[in-house]
Amino acid sequence: MPTMNMLQAINNALDIAMAEDEKVLCFGEDVGIFGGVFRATSHLQEKYGRARCFNTPLVEQGIIGFANGLAAQGSVPVAEIQFADYIFPAFDQIVNETAKFRYRSGDLFNVGGLTIRAPYGGGISGGLYHSQSPEAYFAHTPGLKVVIPRNPYQAKGLLLSAIRDPDPVLFFEPKRLYRASTGEVPEEDYQLPIGEAEVTREGSDITVLGWGAQMEVIERAVALAEKEGISCEVIDLRSILPWDEDTVAESVLKTGRLLITHEAPLTGGFAGEIAATIAERCFLYLESPISRVTGLDTPFPLTLEKEYLPDHLKIFEAIKACVAF
């Protein structure tokens, strides 16, 4: 099985999708001959032509408006927003149009073919505007699906699912891992389920939950905790919307403790939603308050990035505090 980094896995998924279905189109800023600023769309224009893989003008609301129209027409657009930080000019098109297309028309029309890809997250010295994690904004919008992969294998399988899913999907890619994360990825076509979390490590004392780039951070924290004799169960949520309540609740019923971590700020972050639901479903089984390890309630910093990020040491300390509660 070949080894790929996350960009190669994403590129490979796009290649498979475009080869299989001529209705699949990839476009966005610098996506054409240049292959995107991160090279996720490398060689796709050469292979499939300028009509199916192309640069757009620099206008996010236009890119997503155009993509909505294409999807409504029956095409399968995969639109790239260069950085998740720049998705907000398209917010109206996404939350008022993409998300409501099927519902408002009584299913006469839909944009289920649409996938929006965007690199998200910190750890690359990107400061305020190349580091944000905007998943919670979109998780508040019924009609969207929000998916975040943790490694190359997941990225390929989840992206292929997203492209073929009957609903529009926002696919946030942890750009810190684009080249840093490598692993075995099958060359053939495969899909991973949307809406299902994955238990990546079984344990008995505490459930540690995250998604995307935080999964690697969680692994380091858990390694420290295990040395101290704490048995951790680790879950990758994978889909933020819809999210897999059952898998998380089942785990917490077993461990009695839950820690959730994300890079986005604490207030209004998706950890709050998970905490409320799990408190409701597992209240009598909880041994300690549900813990959140997140970014601070500030814009994303630059020189103090390391201090800001919810790193393995912060998670490790929070695990110990939960167990000692």
Binding site: F54, F66, G69, Q73, K100, D107, L108, F109, G195
Partner: protein
């Protein structure tokens, strides 16, 4: 590509260079301007167009009255803009896509949407294709290639560019027309759409209904330029300004635009100069921001009257036929309204369907909880309680009509 021409003194252009003439064929008395040639139009199509205009006018008058009587929550009239909307629609193939703003019910009438279909939407009953989810006038029809209306302004404009790009790739010779007002043309989505359509050579017609007002804001406070049309220069796009109350000019201009779009894959901007004779909506009162005198001046330019005079001059129509048609339509509006009012609302389950292709487990749990609650207080939720156990399947109007 930018021009290579140099100058060596700082001479500014001011924008005044871009002033645009108006294309007119038909005078208000129903005769042609000197030197004007009417577009090819046989009796059948001429009458189809005119009857659609009258059908729209009667629907609008009666439904606004129904709103005033408290039978309907909200309404918007196309009144005064029928020639712009129906003339443009008549210039298209029936399979071309229409992505409208909200005041274009005349396009649906022309394509054959029935009074029953209008009423089911207006009253949000169990037969509404939109399942009672949107305010009145948010129509949609897959079989008639009319995209369901969305309230946010201008969002349909870049979508039309994308839809048309898909049509170009499909290669079946179809195009998309998108309607919007001169107010909506101030939105960012308008500019994004025109630029993308030009760059990507898309078969789309951008049809601006410049009706003078965005709710209460007159166009003079909307833009400083000579209307919307000069913006096309900035995107190197074909553009024409047309008298929007002149059915023949609108028809001829839009037919030519369609040829440019479909045969050359070039977008076109049409600015139709017209006037919103009615209020913005049933919630608006124009007496606070414009004069009766101004309205009267435009009432004399009524597009229906102008076309009727032209038809009568051709001996294709008569005052007797007019009277009979109006009476028949008025009766039909009342009958269909009564039918639609009596129908129950969509079943409670439709609250959670179509959010996603399939109802998610979390949403199903929320619905189950809601049903339990409603059974506890059935008198407090009469509409919900009456449809807890539905047996009506809401129609998809495309089910038997093929693809969009």
């Amino acid at each position: 590509m930018t021009s290579q021409q140099d100058i060596h003194t700082p001479e500014f252009l001011t924008g005044d260079e871009f002033s645009i003439p108006t294309f007119r064929l038909l005078k208000q008395d129903g005769s042609l301007f000197e030197g004007a040639t009417a577009p090819e139009l046989d009796r059948d199509q001429a009458l189809r167009i005119y009857q659609a205009m009258v059908t729209t006018r009667v629907l609008d008058e009666r439904m606004m009255a129904a709103q005033r009587q408290g039978r309907l929550s909200f309404y918007m009239q196309c009144t005064g803009e029928e020639a712009a909307v129906i003339g443009a629609t008549a210039a298209l193939e029936d399979a071309d896509m229409i992505m409208a703003q909200y005041r274009e019910q005349g396009a649906l009438v022309y394509r054959g949407f029935t009074y029953d279909e209008f009423m089911n939407q207006l009253f949000g009953n169990e037969l509404d294709y939109g399942k009672g989810r949107q305010m009145p006038i948010h129509y949609g029809s897959r079989k008639l290639h009319y995209m369901t209306i969305s309230s946010p302004l201008a969002t349909q404009i870049p979508q039309a560019a994308g839809y048309a790009y898909g049509q170009k790739l499909a290669g079946e010779g179809h195009c998309t027309i998108t309607f919007f007002g001169e107010g909506a043309a101030s939105e960012g989505d308008f500019h994004a759409a025109l630029n993308m359509a030009s760059v990507h050579e898309v078969p789309v017609i951008f049809f601006c209904r410049n009706n003078g007002y965005a709710i209460s804001t007159p166009s003079i406070e909307q833009f400083a330029a000579d209307g919307i049309a000069p913006r096309a220069y900035g995107y190197r796009m074909h553009v024409i300004r047309v008298d929007g109350n002149d059915i023949l000019a609108v028809l001829a201009a839009t037919r030519a635009a369609r040829r440019i779009a479909v045969e050359h894959n070039k977008p076109v901007l049409i600015e139709a100069m017209t006037y919103r004779l009615a209020a913005h909506s049933s919630s608006d009162d124009p007496s606070g921001y414009r004069s009766k005198k101004e309205e009267e001046a435009w009432r004399e330019k009524d597009p229906l009257l102008r076309m009727r005079l032209w038809l009568i001059a051709h001996e294709w129509w008569s005052e007797e036929q007019e009277k009979a048609l109006q009476e028949e339509l008025r009766r039909e509006v009342l009958e269909t309204m009564k039918r639609a009012e009596k129908r129950p609302p969509p079943p409670l389950d439709s609250l959670v369907t179509d959010v996603y292709a399939d109802v998610t487990p979390a949403l199903q749990r929320q619905l189950d909880r809601l049903k339990t609650h409603i059974r506890q207080y059935p008198d407090s939720y009469p509409r919900g309680a009456s449809s807890l156990d539905p047996d009506v399947a809401v129609g998809d109007d495309a089910a038997t009509e093929g693809d969009a």
